[in-house]
Symmetry: C2
Subunit: 617 residues, 2 copies
Amino acid sequence: MEAERTLQDEEITRLGDLAAQLRADSIRCSTRVGSGHPTSSLSAADLLAVLISRHLRYDWRNPRNPANDHLIFSKGHASPLLYAVFKAVGAISDQELMDTYRRSGSRLQGHPTPALPWVDVATGSLGQGLPVGVGIALAGQYLDQRPFHVWVLCGDSETAEGSIWEALDKAAHYGLRNLTAIVDVNRFGQRGPTELEWDLDTYRRRVEAFGCHPLVVDGHDLAAIDEAFGRAREATGPTVVLARTVKGKGVPEVENKPGWHGKALKEDMAERAVQALGGVRQIRVTGPHPGSFSPPAAPAKEPPALPRYEKGAKVATRNAYGEALRALGARPDVVALDGEVSDSTRADKFAEAYPDRFFEMFIAEQQLVAAAVGLQVRGYRPFVATFAAFLSRAYDFIRMAGISQADIALSGSHAGVEIGPDGPSQMGLEDLAAMRAVQGSTVLYPSDAVSCATLVAQMVDRKGVSYLRTTRGKYPVLYDNGEEFPIGGSKLVREGGDVALIGAGVTVHNCLAAADELAREGIDARVIDLYSVKPLDRQRLRDAVRDTGGRLVVVEDHYPQGGLGAAVLESLADLADSVRVTHLAVRGLPGSGTPTQLMDQAGIGVNAVVIAARALA
Amino acid sequence: MEAERTLQDEEITRLGDLAAQLRADSIRCSTRVGSGHPTSSLSAADLLAVLISRHLRYDWRNPRNPANDHLIFSKGHASPLLYAVFKAVGAISDQELMDTYRRSGSRLQGHPTPALPWVDVATGSLGQGLPVGVGIALAGQYLDQRPFHVWVLCGDSETAEGSIWEALDKAAHYGLRNLTAIVDVNRFGQRGPTELEWDLDTYRRRVEAFGCHPLVVDGHDLAAIDEAFGRAREATGPTVVLARTVKGKGVPEVENKPGWHGKALKEDMAERAVQALGGVRQIRVTGPHPGSFSPPAAPAKEPPALPRYEKGAKVATRNAYGEALRALGARPDVVALDGEVSDSTRADKFAEAYPDRFFEMFIAEQQLVAAAVGLQVRGYRPFVATFAAFLSRAYDFIRMAGISQADIALSGSHAGVEIGPDGPSQMGLEDLAAMRAVQGSTVLYPSDAVSCATLVAQMVDRKGVSYLRTTRGKYPVLYDNGEEFPIGGSKLVREGGDVALIGAGVTVHNCLAAADELAREGIDARVIDLYSVKPLDRQRLRDAVRDTGGRLVVVEDHYPQGGLGAAVLESLADLADSVRVTHLAVRGLPGSGTPTQLMDQAGIGVNAVVIAARALA
């Protein structure tokens, strides 16, 4: 671990002073507000001092400079250190750091978020920064083809997350020479020692076995750190700097002691510590400038030539997803990813047409979603597909994407009992509830190919996390090519004033068949296609309440909680009129069978809709 | 990879015939129904023939024999092979296999579920069987202290899931000598080659680096397999048999060919294949018997001496969780697990009292939940705790636990904006929606320490997945010790007929303060504590509608979708009376601040409740 001494003594002194400032500021801001993670910041201060002074190529006055390196704090709880860095480079003032950290309304939140222009993504749920970094590095190496580097500071505790290994595996698979993970091995987690403590050798062997190049250093040896970062930048594949550090380094009262995780120092301790570190400094550091480059001109945003479908023809909406996505591929900023099921989700249609903009993530859904988040950091428009059920594997990543206000499009195929014989493990039956509850999300569930293609085309420029639910089986095309399906809208598929049958996706077809049957009995049923589950078309529902005397049947291929029924009810909650909603949903635990058998057994088939409507009307 | 030849030729022939039967039956049943994964079954047939004949100690007539080994198909899509095994051991008939596989109402579903008595847990979402196996092995080695062995058949594709590495890491950390993963390295995934194809050496190095003992074999060499399984059983730590296999092995038309994943053979192909395999066989195999042992007598189920709290004292419900859990520890079947935050969730109170029944899973929430599922397979009552937000990391595992009908208790602490300065990454704000949408789940959200402790005590014998949401901050104890809080019930905390204020958890306190304020204005507000979010107390809500003329304010520290508000609305959906619900929830993206600031900003604080109630009343 002894590095060649390539740095001049003077530079070492300068870096040491900067590190002392980063430490002092980490302590000062957290003690001022009375919370935060100073000790987790202290262990990594030397690493950051060297990085920002000599390796991170970043134009702090222009965080949108596309030539900038990327710096991600995967260990987001070390926000005092990150914000101390922002002060050191002149991005924020000492006053902002001291007066606003963790306060109401501040952009210096407890964990970093893109409320700050130098922060690409929100972190704080451990094990996510590195997988997102993989996505940014993919963009750099394969799409931008520019030499910016992605530096990710990881905690040692978070290497227990499987997602870290998904990330290293994919980094190696794609040979990402522009990615460096810096693991701050300070051997303490929140409540005690980590699993591997200072067993750097095991870390090294794991990293190597996963195809990345480990660089083991003493994380407090400034020259050694400098050399490792230099080698990382020049490496021919992904690198992992494994830095042996001491938690609380620089403050003897807490150094290498358990029980100090996530605790601000008391004021007197903080004063002594800052004093011992040389007092409050206002060093302003200027690291290497990235230069600049002009990204390719913004792509023409002409409406894509969407696939066309014959009314009445039977087409699966998952097919329409693949075909619409292929059409959108005419835009060079559109990229697609899949979790090793592209022949099922139909993302393969895009992959065949645009292999250079398709990323196979294999069966690693967390990395799948994280890569998309990283790609959108670089301005790409990622479309992610897997089975609806398996997006649940990445729910924490989707939640955090919402907090990052990341613009990503997700497609979940094979939703509901409609999938048939594969059984409940493959059925997305909670996805509408889960996706609706993501901050700022859009949730779409088209019933036919035409509406599906039109919605996919709108997802490309949609802000935030948007989710499309597609259906496995083939159902008749209901709409004319060229019809509009605005997000937030709905379709009145059939007029009727006795009762309103409300579905989305496959249940629209059940509602239509039920309306035919009811018509034979003299019951005049309106059918509404709520293809936009979030946002929802309140007006259409209110009209239905008014016109039918408040008689609504909502039918969904989803568990009863939180899905389409809840969306309808939430939207009508404050209505003064009397409304009676019969809510048909999948109430038991389904098994195998044909789609029709399973829908009938679940009580969401045609007959169930007829019975419910009859009882209301 | 050449093994010592320890088997007699006769036995080799017998095993070969059995393997041929398993192959033929995998083909026959999937071709009969026209779907399923025969090729993924064929690659592993030799492994299973040897396992069930010579190593798996299982009393097929008594799947509840506690001395039985455990067999888990982590690659659940190979269900034809699993059911062919069940036929070979006489557990099911050839007729059941042929006539019911993947059919409506059958227990032989597309992917295995515990509808079959020989199946411990549902699989089919890849990367889950092995983590669950870790939980079963933990029970065997640390609690039961019996020599049963856990055998988990994994696919090679699923090793891309980080959860597999969480599992191997924990298997090594806990030195689980009773656990063997068998990886069927057939080099093909669904849509093409796997990442590592037949690079057995990389698999070996990864397994070794993660602390497990790799055994590389030719997965079609019966003697070599036999030797590897023998060594696995005798090993002093966890073992991973890395079996190089050929997808579709035994059927030349599909052997080692892409494009045959998840496809049943056409009838004529199937006929030729079965013929070539020697036709339909009815071999009945008897493997080693496990013997028997008497598990310890069922624990006395006397009500535990729950912690007591003084009315009005300020106590955090997370504290009550820890204290109640410690009290429940008097029952020897209660175990607890935590994701490296036990000092925050207060699971440390149990850990201190019962260190032998506490399992630290570090920051690996998928493995955390999976271990609990495994522990309940062995009859233990696991309580899992982490931050509410971080349970989202394990959502797919919780979803599958619901399908497995696993009895596990989850506690999510630090829910909502109430947590204060840490910011949105640490706030559980979608957990109620996500957890409500889990099949068969129970969702609880107590407002005070007394109700929390009482609910924890009920979770211990609750069927299915139960979820408790706890609060970070301290709030006054509202109830008397000994009061009852049945699951499915609620509390009328304050009478009133003008308007009903409905909360759960922290918002009950806001409702009470609002009711005081409203009383000063002459508005008589009823306050309801909906501590049981699922199942919900419909009658209490209907009474409130009747008594207040349908004026309800629902307040929740959660995003507006799918949470408490949705639960209330779903429960009132079919009511004919006119109901107006004002729904207060966290509608924007929160930041840092104090709990009160953040609740006020989100519009769920006392003042917001007062304004909403005033507008309705």
